[in-house]
Each structure stands twice: as structure tokens, then as C-alpha cells.
């Protein structure tokens, strides 16, 4: 690749990485479920876009497949599963329960981003010859931290499931910059695994809604040591 073309690819990857982080933060603090789902789709599109940029820049057909698989599973199939799992709850105009205030959540998210950046830095230094790693590795780990944070502080099953999927996308966002030749069997398995996991967890959410009358899992606290 020509240096000028590489610079463009590098800038584009940074652009999509910024949006990837932004949409992750959005899911952490989204007030309504429909908004969180919309951000989740955008999040998947940012991952797809980064994979396309890297596929072209690194001349890697494997990353092309990763982009296609990501788009078809995370931007289309999984959101459909999430819509089905949420049912009518998706359209309820109620606040999604937070353990923390949004301001405090944002503050912690900023600290988590910093920790992720510092944690992954030795790895970035240890792998020369992978230029996109400097963008994708920290971005991916930040998304993993944000996803885990979403699962921890949101008391709504649907948003917690999105948090899990954000973590999975974060792992792939990081890895496409260093692993651009995942074996076919691993690619196919990963493509099948994500929708299956989303489907089963979605089914669990529907059952929680049926039995508990809500998907607010924060309200389910019957199981304690002294009961």
C-alpha cells in the first residue's frame, strides 16, 4: 500500500474507532431501551467499517469475511433477536434503571478508558509491524471495559445483554488489527456462536419477563445467603 493510502486508511480507522467508543459510552448511559438498541446497531456498523478498512489496507480477504460476518450477525441478526426478546418492552418510554447517576457513570467510564489504555500499552509496544494495533487494541479493550460496566450498573436485562455483546465486539475490534487470518472453522464457529448465544439469552429474558412481569433484573434479589 502506498504511504498516502495508508495514511488515509489509518485516519479512517481512527475515525471509526472514535465512533465505536462513543457508541459504547452511549449504551452505558442510554435512558431508554430503544435508544440503546439503535446505538448497538451503530456500534456494530463501526466495527464492520473498521474491518473493511483493515481488509483493504492489509489486503486481507479474511478480514473481508470478518466484516461480512459482523455485518450480517451483529448489525442485522442480533438486533432482530434483541427486538424479539424485548417484545413490547422495547417501546416503553420509561427510564432504564441505573445503579449510578449518568454523570458518575461517565466519570467512571473515563477512568476505565484510561486504565484500558495503560493496560494494553505494553502489548502495543511488543508487536511491531501491526500499525493498526495502536488504534484497535486500546479501543477494543475500552469497549470490553464499557460492556462489563454496562452489565454491572444497568439493572435491565436487555441492556445487560447489549453490554455482553459490546464486550464481544470489543474483543473482535481489538483482534482484527493483529489476527487477520483466523482459521475458517473459527470464523464459522464465531459467526454461529454469537446469534445462538443472543437467542438463548434473549429467550431467558422473555421468560424473566413472563414470570416476573418485567425485564428489570435489578429487582430480582430473592436469592441471598440468609433466605
Amino acid at each position: 500500500m502506498m504511504p498516502a493510502s495508508f495514511d488515509i486508511a489509518y485516519a479512517l480507522d481512527g475515525f471509526f474507532a472514535a465512533f465505536f467508543v462513543l457508541f459504547s459510552v452511549g449504551i452505558v448511559v442510554a435512558r431508554q431501551m430503544r435508544g440503546a438498541l439503535f446505538l448497538f446497531v451503530l456500534h456494530a456498523l463501526a466495527l464492520t467499517a473498521s474491518a473493511i478498512v483493515l481488509a483493504i489496507a492489509l489486503d486481507s480477504p479474511h478480514l473481508g469475511w470478518v466484516a461480512l460476518i459482523t455485518f450480517s450477525t451483529k448489525a442485522i441478526a442480533v438486533p432482530l433477536v434483541l427486538r424479539w426478546a424485548a417484545g413490547r418492552k422495547l417501546h416503553e418510554r420509561r427510564e432504564v434503571d441505573h445503579v449510578l447517576t449518568i454523570t458518575f457513570s461517565l466519570l467512571i467510564a473515563a477512568v476505565l478508558a484510561l486504565i484500558a489504555w495503560v493496560t494494553i500499552e505494553p502489548l502495543v509496544q511488543a508487536i511491531p509491524g501491526r500499525p493498526f494495533a495502536a488504534i484497535n487494541l486500546p479501543t477494543g479493550l475500552i469497549a470490553i471495559f464499557f460492556g462489563a460496566f454496562t452489565v454491572t450498573v444497568r439493572r435491565e436485562a436487555m441492556v445487560q445483554l447489549m453490554g455482553l455483546l459490546v464486550m464481544e465486539s470489543g474483543a473482535f475490534f481489538a483482534s482484527i488489527s493483529i489476527v487477520n487470518d483466523l482459521s475458517v472453522i473459527a470464523e464459522i464457529s464465531a459467526a454461529v456462536d454469537v446469534p445462538i448465544a443472543a437467542m438463548v439469552i434473549g429467550l431467558l429474558i422473555r421468560n424473566i419477563n413472563r414470570v416476573a412481569g418485567s425485564t428489570r433484573v435489578g429487582h430480582m434479589a430473592d436469592l441471598k445467603e440468609h433466605n
Partner: protein, 486 residues
Amino acid sequence: MLVLILVIPAVVALLTLASRRLAPWLTLAGMLIGLGLAIVNALRVAHGGIIHGAYGTLSLDPLGALYLLVVAFVGVTAALYGIGYLTARMAELTEDDPPPRYRQYFPLFNLFLLSIMAVPLASNLAVIWIAIELTTVFSAFLVAYDDGRQALEAAWKYVALTSMGAMIALLGVLILYYGINHQGQPITWQGLQQAAPHLPAAVLLIPFVLWLIGFGAKTGLVPLHTWLPDAHSQAPASVCAVLSGVEVSAALYMLLRIYPALVANPGIVNPEIWYLVAGLITVATSAFLLLQVHDYKRLFAYSTIEHMGIILAACGLGAGGHQLGTVYQLFAHAFTKSFCFYAAGLATLVFGTQKIAAVGGLLGRAPVVGWALLLGAIAIAGAPPFALFISEFEILRTGFAAGQYAATGVLTTLIVLAFVAIVYQAGRIVFGEPVVADGYQPPPLPKTSMVALAIAFVPVLVFGFYLPPPLMSLVHQAALILGGPT
């Protein structure tokens, strides 16, 4: 032939959808064939080393063969136990209780076992991660079998925490993928071991830390253990046996297998410290929780957390001599813990409750179950002449022999504390005047479950003083994979 071990439960899962009446027996037949195949392949591995199948996508080495054996054995006893136990539980239901997921149980049980068996069989590290992730996916509704509010709460906690862990571990897998591939090695355990000395320390250490957190959640390491007692208090005993006996060890298996690679890397100083600290914190927390537990299925769940901690701490002890004890502990924990849950499940049928304070006199009310629970508790606590005594003794012996007096002394104290707690709690259940709850009519104890209990007890007792030579050879070869002495 290796592929058959995975094909059979997949086929049986489909067949169980067709016939509700035959589903329990089809499951048992499938598990028996699986055990037969596991034994045949373990013998091949014991005599000839690593074997491959399905064009290299599957492989089995001594550590994998040993783990596969216990998975297959627990699969058979759990399938047999479940036949009568689930029927007896349904007979107890009142009109107000939601119908349990009996029809879904058998396909999911087969797929759950399939995914666990894929962990030691798959060659590719990414595929192994997928298998571990699928163990959660297929067992979520087994934990939620009762379909009540509490069962669903337990299932949700289980899914949320362990999936969160799996996603963290995924990044570790993919970084290792890069590292191994960069060294021109296949993405397998053997490839990792070959590549390890040449990798930059960060390429190995960061994935390990991600695994310790990620797979640690699935293993039940403190502070990520909270799902484990809840899931075990709600799931049927046959599911608890598999969850506790072999599923949590699937994630621990990953942490054990990366250990020799960490040791082989010159840039990583004292990797055993990570294992020792995580292990000791886990054992200490569980030992104190065991003292104040109020539910006897939770008691055995905390004991599982303790055992996972012991195995992890064992990696940090003994300066290279711990592996025999570590491998034997992993092996002995599987069948001993499944036996404990079988006894606990039958005790629930006898009493109609799991609350320790509300029960007593089990020896008087159901002597066989009472003795099973008492012996199971003594065995799982690590008393002689049972198998876990051998492994715990070996772990502590190598720790003291290596001069790690402080850490080994702390571990010994915690093991003794846990021993006292488990035996004390078991004593409250089995001794005293028989307690009869008002209006509760216990169902007759199911025969298949009693047979499963008897079969499960055989290795608990026998392997404490005798191990057949091929199995002994397999244990030594497995320890060698972890870098231990022959």
C-alpha cells in the same frame, strides 16, 4: 473415532426431541456409549500419547483424556440419576408451581455435555473458547429448570457473570492466536508451548490476566463466584453434579494449561504468584462462607469454590513439583462432588427443603441417603481414605518440601477450616432426631437415582487407595504436560 464422542450426544439431543417417553433412556444410552469411547481413547492415549481426529481439528493428549474420562463418567451417572429424580420432583409439585422444563431438559443436557466434552477434544484454542461459551448457553435453561422466579434469577446471574467472563477471555484467546501464529506454530496447546519461549512477555502475560479474570468467573474464583451458589441452589441435583463436577473445571482446565507456557517464557517472572494469590483468596473466602451457609446445596457449591481455589493455589506451590497433586485434585473433585450433589438431591426429596436449620436426623429417616451425604461430605472435605485426601496431601507435601512454609501453612489452615465447616454442617443434617415437616409427604426414593448414587461412590472410595495402572499412567503423563515430574 474422536469425532464420534461429539456426534453421539448431538444425535441423541435430536432424538430426545422426538420422544418424551424414551428421552431419559436415550440420553443414558448415549452417555454410556460416550463413556465407552472415552475409555477406549484414554487407553490409546495412555499407551501411545496424543491422538488426532477429524483432519486435525480434534486431538486428545493425556490431560485432555483424563478430563474427558471424568466428564463422560459424570455424564453417565447424572443421566441415570436424572431418570427417577426428575420424575420424583414432578410428583412433589403442587397446582401453584409452574411446570418444570422436563421436555427441554434432555436435549439441553446432551448439548451441555457435548460442549463440555469439546473442551478437551478441540485442537484450536478459539474453538475451545467457543465450546466453553456454549456450556453456558446450553445450561442456562437447565439451571432455570423449575421455571420459577428464583430459578430464573439464578440462571440470569449465571449467564450474565460467566458470559461477561467469557468475553474478557476472548480477547486473551485472540491475542494468543496472534502470538502463536506469528511464531509459525499451529493454534493448539502444543503450538502455544512451542511458541511460548519466543514470545514477548506482554503477548503471553496480558492474555493470561484476561483469562484469569474471564475464565476465573466461570471457575468461581472470588470475587466473581457469586453466581455459583445461586445456580446450584436452584438447578436440579443432576445438573449441579455436572456444573460443579466438570463444567467449572472446564474453565480451570484453561488456566492450568496456560501455566507451562508462562513458565517457559523467560520474560515472565514468578508466574506462580498469580495462581497462589488468586487461589488463596478463593479458598479463604469459601472456607469462611462454608461456616455460615444455610442451604446444603449451597454448602457443596461453596465447597466447589474452595476446591477450585486449592487447585489454583497448588499451581503456585511446590516450585515445579505440584502437578501430580493438581491433576489428581481436578480428577478426584469431579466424581466426589457429583456424588455429593446426588446425595443432596435425594435429601431434598426426603425433607422437601434445602434449609439446614429445618432438617435433621437424615440417618434415621433415610439411612442410605444419610450415609451417602455424610460420607460425601467427609470425602469432599479431604479426609482419608478418599481420593481427595491423596491429592490434598500431595499438594501440601510438595509445598512444604519446596520450602514454601508460609503459603503452604496458610493453605493447610484454610483446608482444615473448610473441613471442620463441611463436617459440622453435614452433622447437623444427618444426626439428631428425624425432622418431619408439617404436611410434607416425601416421595419414594427413585431406584435409578439410588443406583447412580452407588455407582458414583465407587471411584470416590476406590481411587483413594487404588488406581488402575493405565489410569495411573495417564495421571503421571497429564502431570508431565503441566511440567511435573514423571
